[in-house]
Symmetry: C2
Amino acid sequence: MKLFSFWQSSASYRVRIALNLKGLDAHYVSINLSPDVQAQLKPDYLDLNPEGRIPAIAVDEGLIGQSMAIMEWLEELHPEPALLPGDPWQRAKCRQFANTIACDIHPLNNASVLRWLTGELEVEQAKLMKWYKHWINRGFEPLEKQAAASEAEFLFGDAPGMAEICLIPQMFKGRQFGMKFETFPTLCALEEKCLTLDAFERARPENQPDAPENL
Amino acid sequence: MKLFSFWQSSASYRVRIALNLKGLDAHYVSINLSPDVQAQLKPDYLDLNPEGRIPAIAVDEGLIGQSMAIMEWLEELHPEPALLPGDPWQRAKCRQFANTIACDIHPLNNASVLRWLTGELEVEQAKLMKWYKHWINRGFEPLEKQAAASEAEFLFGDAPGMAEICLIPQMFKGRQFGMKFETFPTLCALEEKCLTLDAFERARPENQPDAPENL
């Protein structure tokens, strides 16, 4: 199994955590998303993955992209340890939490979108930051409420799963943009707890083989 | 079961199709997303759904939001007819297709984002259209390739599922913006085929109880 990833990509970060939690090994293939390289749009990668995005997983059957689809696939093939709770209603709430990040927050703040805003739309830096923070806050407010109401050790049980897998990389990205998340104390405490776990620690951007040495 | 929906909301349109395909009835509750109403952000709806978004489904256990999470939940509780293929690899490819729309296309072109662009960022109409078309084309190109390579009656078998459920509402939205999709002939043929089916027909925006009478 190969994982096409980039150290800074938060969607790749999700899949790295999922693989680690499940104890699965994948050969790391770096796809450099830097604006001056954009390896994801080079012909040799597009031949493999016409979407021109990462993460993607390649196995004998072919290639699969989209982090949420990859996680569901991993969950079906390797059910234990589970990334989703056992109870259908709790599974739904866990997927809802994860999708709030994957569909409502991350897509608006990813690198290619921010480049379009500053490039094609000539949005200046202060307004870009306002945009960035708006979509984080709009999404994180209900997530904080939900997290604060949870009585479990993690969001949906005694182990982290799909919800935490989406949350921690999104907070990493926000911190890169200078966000402190001080109005989201429950989510910050959860982040701290997750990052003490080996599966999250090994998946961190700075611990990837393609991360710069002096971060 | 209650469905919180708005006739023009393409994410609500997804859930309407899914309910119809599974033969499930839900009481339709209109949440008016119009800029001058914004019922999704009113206190009585926020009490039910702190995310302030639609679609959402309310049942005895509570409320669940996020169309992708709702569909997975429906699939688990009512497995037949299935929205996902039986084979794990095909399920993964189907979810990938659906997530390309749900995570890479729709979030950039939904109403609240377009309002932010024209409002806060003062983006003019021509540039807004360029933005709109860019994200559609960026996502649809690989989807057209994938659809053209499919030998099945629908994308992933002999019946429509999660992939078509995401595709048709996205094309509806694009057409509202004047897009003709002429460079995506396979997807257009698929759209035409889906719209002949009762489950899709009944879910169409113009057939909802809150649609204006003279469209």
